[in-house]
């Protein structure tokens, strides 16, 4: 029995990582339909916010509050200046955000050099859980990811902002007739997506190399999770993360990891063939 505990927790860790990096994508790509190739850099910005906060004397917990704010403001400015000009034109959005991601990577590298940044995460050691030692930080990550997910779902289902957003996505004309300002809603939605990505960046920093290119590792993954889970629904992200994360961990215990990742990709293609709108479409 105890042998299954690390396996179970490892699955939950990967699911949590996928959930965190994909939630912002679910809003920006899934709901707003903006193909944002700079999504990975929003995550990077979050991680580097942690670096800066620690350098000026702050800690991880402070960064956990500051990073979403930085991401939100960054997203808001970006939406106002660039993104709003390319709504409805996927190709323009694609090119523009791709260019943006390259610029952001280089700017971050110029400021912080190519070296992976040293950061101090909380809970460095392992704790005993049912007789098995497991890294404490991973347990925290699993709980935190779940909390972030629940809060995001509540915001979308229970608040006026969530209602307005869903309305203006379903029918922008009707929503604006009913007194919703789509421009404002879009700006806040995009900024929320960026804020969630930045939050993910802080949470991932203790687990991974913090470099200007770290975001690239998550870009394809998060698109993938959103597409499989079902674009346009927040709960779809959970379904996508559980399927991909769970399966990949399960397979990686049976076959080489490279093959496991390929197998998950193939399965995803099969799923999309039969459920083109994903597992839990909107």
């Amino acid at each position: 029995m105890s042998a299954y505990i690390p396996y179970f927790l490892n699955s939950l860790t990967l699911i949590s990582i996928l959930l965190l990096v994909s939630m912002g994508m679910a809003i920006i790509f899934g709901l707003m339909n903006v193909v944002n190739l700079a999504h990975g850099e929003f995550i990077t910005i979050g991680a580097f916010t942690l670096v800066v906060v620690e350098r000026v004397g702050g800690n991880f917990w402070l960064a956990l509050i500051v990073a979403p704010v930085v991401g939100y403001i960054f997203g808001l400015i970006l939406e106002r200046v660039l993104i709003r000009r390319v709504y409805g034109n996927a190709l323009h959005a694609l090119l523009m955000t791709w260019g943006l991601s390259l610029i952001l990577q280089q700017v971050i590298q110029l400021i912080f050099t190519a070296n992976p940044q040293s950061i101090k995460g909380p809970f460095p050691g392992a704790i005993s859980i049912f007789g098995e030692n497991y890294p404490a930080y991973r347990l925290f990550l699993i709980c935190f990811a779940l909390a972030v997910f629940v809060v995001t779902v509540l915001v979308f289902k229970k608040t006026k902002f969530g209602l307005d957003l869903r309305a203006s996505i379903q029918s922008p004309e009707m929503a604006s007739v009913m007194g919703v300002n789509p421009a404002k809603i879009n700006a806040h939605a995009f900024a929320s997506g960026a804020a969630l990505a930045a939050l993910a960046g802080v949470l991932l920093a203790p687990l991974t190399a913090v470099t200007a290119y770290m975001g690239l590792n998550y870009l394809a993954r998060s698109f993938f999770v959103v597409l499989i889970g079902g674009a346009g629904s927040i709960s779809g992200v959970a379904a996508g993360s559980v399927l991909i994360g769970g399966l990949e961990t399960f397979l990686s215990y049976q076959i080489p990891v490279t093959v496991a990742q390929a197998a998950v990709l193939i399965l995803a293609i099969v799923i999309l063939r039969f459920r083109p709108k994903g597992i839990l479409p909107a």
């Binding site: 890294p135 991973r138 687990l207 470099t211 990891v257």
Partner: protein, 394 residues
Amino acid sequence: MTKLNLTRRETIKKIGGGAAILGAAALGMPSILSAADGPIKLGFLSGLTGLETILGETQLNCFKLAVSEINGSNGIGGRQVEFIVEDDQTTTKGAINKARKLINGDGVDATIGLIASLTHVAARSVTTPAKKLLMYSTYYEGEVCERYFKSTGQIPNQQIVPSVEWLTANEGKSTYIIGSDYVWPRKSADTIKAAMEAKGGKVLGAEFFPFGTQDFGPALDRVKAAKPDFVWMMCAGNDLFTFLKQYKSFGLSQQLFSQGLDDVVSGADPELTVGALSNQAYFMNIDNPQNVAFKKAYGDMFGADKPINAIGEAAYDAVYLYKLAVEKAGTTETEAVIDALGTVEFDAPQGHVSFASNGVMRSNSILARANAAGAWETVENYGQIDPIVTGCSL
């Protein structure tokens, strides 16, 4: 009859051009005007973005330092050195495209650099058929035997084999290998397995992960279950940091060994590497006058707090060995330079170096342990070792 098409603009241009040539000659720079005696062109090709960015920067800096020192003291046989920097993005596609550009487009006399082994395989597929010199400065899996390929980094018998001897004698007879999924870790794992077995040891498992792996949890879970005496890690570039962060958090107590650790990696985050073992041809702690001068010159040019590693030092050596070979050959013609490379010797920061007949540099083998400050303390210095490439004599 041909039509003489002389316009006023053309005439002024021609007179201007002639004046420039005359002017240059009058200033005493006639050598620049003759093509054969023009500047020597070197190509620098390496991973300046992507996975190996952290190592690429130091390698480029060391290359630039060597060129600037050479240019500051009469160049190569009186000719200045120019260089073109290209980024292979740590991909095979990038390495092939950029090697082609350097050779066919820029017409470089030689190409120096490269880190991840997949890029030396890719670049060689361009340089060797084109019969152009490629100098590789990173420790690697060896087993290459090509006239147009010279390497200044360690190969397994200079790095892995002595390390296995020490580890089996001091840490224990079993190990578990975790690496990135490409040619260097996979081929090195074969060498490690053979070397371990020769010492009565055993490789309990070997696992390879795609670039950009975010979760080593399942692998570390298996390492824990296998209970090896020490863990052998060969993750590349940024993935190495991801692995180290997760290794610590799983509370594994086994000794960690990786021949991919050096001063640059430990300098970036000393907490992650403290206590780990590595084997390199160069550590900053090497005590000789050349290394003192090298570190000072590097610090003056790029900042005193910037660490230097073996990959960088070997790139620096490559430029100097190339310079000595060109001077000895009296030409930049590739065949003559390659012949001369086999005969030149250089007082490098790591010590006195030269090429063996298999095209690999005779280099040091130093087993060291990282301390809490990110510096390396020598555990065992095997001195300089002759490279062995089975069946290779060029």
